[in-house]
C-alpha cells in the first residue's frame, strides 16, 4: 500500500468508492448528451465541413488558392502544422513523463490529454499532406522501391526525418492510448445496470479484446506501460526537435539557430498544457467530472505553464542576445525586423501572450481559479500560434534580394482550412467524450486510498 503525506491535497474529492468511480466514468457513455454538447458539436461539425470544402478547393485549383508567394513560400500551413504538433506534446508528457516521475495527478487527465495528442497530430498531418498539392502521391515520401529509376527519399533531409518522426509519434501514441483503454472498455462491457443498447455492448466487448484482469495480465500491463512511457519520453522530445530542424538546418537568418530544438520542445509543452486546460475545464463541467479533475490538477498544470512559459521567454531573449553578439548584420536585422518591422504587432502578441500574461500564475489566487486559468490558456493558445507565424513569416518576407521583399496575407481558403482543422479537432474530441471512458478508471482506482479525500480524512 502506498502512503502519502497528509498535507498533500486530495486528488479525488467527495468520498468516492471504487464503484462510484466506475459509475462516474461510465455515465457520459451511458447517458444522453445534453444541450451544450449538441450546440458545441454542431458548431464544430460546421467548421469542419467548411474546412473540407476549402481543402477540396485547394486540391482542385492548386496551392495558388493560398496567400503564399515566391518570397513567403511557407506560411499558415506550416504554422498550423507546428502549432498542432506542439499541442500534441502535452498529452505524451502527461502520460509518459509524469508516469516515469510517478506523479499521481496525471491519472485523472492522461486519457483525455492523450486523446488530444492523437487528434492534434491528425490535424497536423493534414497540412504537409495538402501542401503537397497532389496528396494522392503522398506515398512518395516513403522509402519504397519504385520504378522512377530507383529514386529514393533523401535521408539527409529534415523533412524526411519529419515523416518518420510524425508517423512514429502518431502510431506509438495510439498504441499507448489503446493499451490503457483495454481494461476500461472491459469495465464498460461488464456493467450490470448499464443502459447501453445490445449493439453498443457488443461494440465495447469487441473493443475490450477479451480483457479479464488476471494477476499476470496486470503485471505485464504495468511493465508494458512503463516501457512504453520510457520509449515515448525521448520520442516526444525528438519529434519537436526534428520539427525545429526543418528550420534550424536551413540558411535563413532567424531560422539558422542551434537553440531551436530545446526552444521548440518547451514551446510545445507550454502550448500543449494550455490546450489541455482549455479542453478539460470545459469537459469536467459538461460530463460532470468535477470530483476527479480538481483545482489541484489545474494548479499543477499552471505551474508547468509558468515554468515552460518563462523558459520560452528566456529563449526569445537569448535569440535576441545571440543575434546581437554574433556580429552578423543579417542576423541582427532579422531580429530587429521581427520586433520593429511591419510584423511588429505579431511579435507583440507573441511576447504578451507567451511571456507576460503567464507570469500572472505567480499569484496563487489566479493559479487556483478556473475562470482565470481558462482565459489565460486561450491567451497561450493564441500566443503560441503567433510564435510560429513570427518565426516563419517574418524570417521569409525579407528575402536575400530587397527587390523580392514582400508581405503575406492569408486568403479566405487559408483561414477556412485552419478553422476547419479546429472544427475537426473539436468534432473528434466531443465524439470521444461521449463514447470513450474519459478517465483511466483502472489506474485512478489505485490511488483512491492514498489520494482520495475520504481516506485522507480517516487518517
Amino acid at each position: 500500500m502506498q502512503k502519502e503525506a497528509e498535507i498533500r491535497d486530495p486528488l479525488i474529492l467527495g468520498n468516492k468508492t471504487y464503484h462510484d468511480i466506475t459509475v462516474d466514468v461510465a455515465r457520459p457513455v451511458e447517458g444522453k448528451a445534453n444541450k451544450y454538447w449538441w450546440i458545441l458539436f454542431s458548431l464544430s461539425l460546421l467548421l469542419f465541413i467548411w474546412g473540407v470544402l476549402c481543402i477540396a478547393y485547394t486540391i482542385g485549383t492548386g496551392i495558388g488558392a493560398w496567400g503564399l508567394n515566391k518570397t513567403v513560400n511557407w506560411a499558415w500551413d506550416i504554422t498550423n502544422f507546428v502549432w498542432w504538433i506542439g499541442i500534441g506534446h502535452a498529452g505524451t508528457l502527461i502520460s509518459a513523463v509524469l508516469l516515469l516521475f510517478r506523479q499521481k495527478w496525471r491519472m485523472a487527465i492522461n486519457r483525455s490529454a492523450e486523446a488530444m495528442t492523437i487528434f492534434g497530430v491528425v490535424q497536423a498531418g493534414l497540412f504537409p499532406l495538402i501542401h503537397m498539392g497532389r496528396p494522392w502521391l503522398a506515398y512518395w515520401v516513403l522509402p519504397i522501391p519504385n520504378q522512377f529509376g530507383s529514386l529514393w527519399v533523401n535521408f539527409n533531409s529534415p523533412l524526411l526525418w519529419d515523416v518518420f518522426a510524425i508517423s512514429t509519434y502518431l502510431s506509438v501514441s495510439v498504441v499507448f492510448w489503446y493499451i490503457g483503454l483495454i481494461p476500461d472498455f472491459a469495465m464498460l462491457r461488464d456493467r450490470m445496470s448499464s443502459t447501453l443498447s445490445p449493439m453498443k455492448k457488443k461494440l465495447y466487448a469487441f473493443l475490450a479484446f477479451g480483457w479479464s484482469g488476471r494477476a499476470k495480465h496486470w503485471q505485464r500491463f504495468e511493465e508494458v506501460s512503463l516501457v512504453l512511457a520510457g520509449l515515448a519520453t525521448p520520442l516526444v522530445f525528438s519529434v519537436h526537435s526534428i520539427v525545429s530542424m526543418d528550420f534550424a538546418t536551413s540558411v535563413i537568418p532567424g531560422w539558422h539557430t542551434t537553440i531551436f530544438p530545446p526552444y521548440f520542445v518547451l514551446g510545445a509543452l507550454f502550448s500543449g498544457f494550455a490546450m489541455v486546460e482549455t479542453l478539460l475545464i470545459i469537459m469536467r463541467k459538461v460530463v460532470s467530472l468535477e470530483a476527479y479533475i480538481t483545482i489541484k490538477h489545474v494548479e499543477y498544470m499552471n505551474v508547468i505553464i509558468l515554468l515552460t512559459g518563462s523558459l520560452v521567454g528566456t529563449a526569445y531573449i537569448t535569440e535576441l542576445f545571440m543575434a546581437w553578439y554574433s556580429g552578423v548584420e543579417f542576423e541582427q536585422y532579422a531580429f530587429l525586423n521581427r520586433a520593429t518591422g511591419p510584423y511588429w504587432w505579431a511579435y507583440a502578441i507573441m511576447m504578451t501572450c507567451n511571456v507576460l500574461t503567464p507570469q500572472l500564475y505567480w499569484f496563487r489566487s489566479i493559479r487556483t481559479s478556473f475562470v482565470a486559468t481558462f482565459i489565460l490558456s486561450i491567451f497561450v493558445n493564441i500566443g503560441m500560434w503567433f510564435e510560429r507565424f513570427v518565426i516563419i513569416v517574418t524570417s521569409l518576407h525579407r528575402d536575400f534580394l530587397p527587390t523580392s521583399w514582400t508581405m503575406f496575407s492569408p486568403t479566405f481558403i487559408d483561414i477556412g482550412i485552419y478553422l476547419g482543422t479546429i472544427g475537426f479537432f473539436f468534432t473528434l474530441f466531443l465524439m470521444y467524450a461521449r463514447t470513450f471512458p474519459v478517465i483511466a478508471q483502472a489506474e485512478l482506482k489505485t490511488i483512491l486510498k492514498s489520494s482520495g479525500s475520504e481516506f485522507k480524512n480517516k487518517k
Binding site: 522509402p143 506509438v172 488476471r214 515515448a232 526534428i242 489505485t446
Partner: protein
C-alpha cells in the same frame, strides 16, 4: 473425487492480499486472481515470475535499429549515392550524423509496436475475443480469487471466510 472450483470474492485489495498470503502459507494453490486494477505486491504474493516484456522491447529495439541502418545504408550508400548539399555520401559513417533521427525513430517504432503486439498475444487479447473473467463485477469493484480443490473443500472455504471473503461460490468442473 471430483475437482471443484471455489470463487472467493473480496471488496478490498488489502484484505485480498493478506488472504492470498494466508492461503499460500497453508499450502493451498491459488489458480488465479481477477482484479479491477493492478495491485502492488500481488504478483510476488502469488509467486508469479517477473515478466520479460521489457527484455522483448530491448530486443525489438535492436532489431529496429539494425533494420533502419540496413535500409539507409542500402538506399543512401549502395543503391544511388548522391552529393546532397556537399554531405559525404560515399561512406555510411561519414554521413551518420544525418541518419541519427531516422535510426532513432526506427528503434522506437519497432520496440513500441512489437512489444505491444507481444503483450497482446501473450495475454490472449485480440479484437472480438469474449470475456474470460468469471464474474463481471471484477472490472468494477470486486476482487475474485479462484482456487481449484481436489476433495475436501470445507477447509479452504473456512480459510477464505476467515480471511475476509464476502462471498464464496463453488462450481463443479
Amino acid at each position: 473425487m471430483s475437482t471443484k472450483t471455489l470463487h472467493g470474492i473480496f471488496d478490498d485489495e488489502e484484505i485480498l492480499l493478506s488472504s492470498v498470503k494466508e492461503i499460500r502459507a497453508n499450502k493451498i494453490e491459488i489458480k488465479e486472481v481477477y482484479s479491477p486494477f493492478p495491485i502492488h505486491g500481488l504478483d510476488k504474493a502469488l509467486g508469479i515470475k517477473e515478466t520479460r516484456m521489457a527484455i522483448t522491447a530491448f530486443i525489438y529495439g535492436c532489431v529496429g535499429l539494425s533494420l533502419g541502418a540496413l535500409m539507409i545504408y542500402n538506399i543512401m550508400i549502395i543503391d544511388w549515392p548522391q552529393n546532397i548539399g556537399g554531405k559525404p555520401n560515399f561512406t555510411f559513417y561519414h554521413n551518420l550524423p544525418a541518419f541519427v533521427p531516422v535510426l532513432f525513430e526506427c528503434t522506437v517504432m519497432f520496440a513500441a509496436h512489437l512489444m505491444s503486439i507481444t503483450y497482446l498475444i501473450r495475454c490472449g487479447l485480440f479484437p472480438g475475443s469474449s470475456e474470460k473473467n468469471p464474474d463481471p463485477r471484477t472490472t468494477d469493484d470486486k476482487f475474485l480469487m479462484e482456487i481449484e480443490v481436489d476433495g475436501d473443500i470445507s477447509k479452504v472455504k473456512e480459510i477464505l471466510a476467515k480471511t475476509g471473503a464476502l462471498e464464496i461460490n463453488e462450481k463443479d468442473d
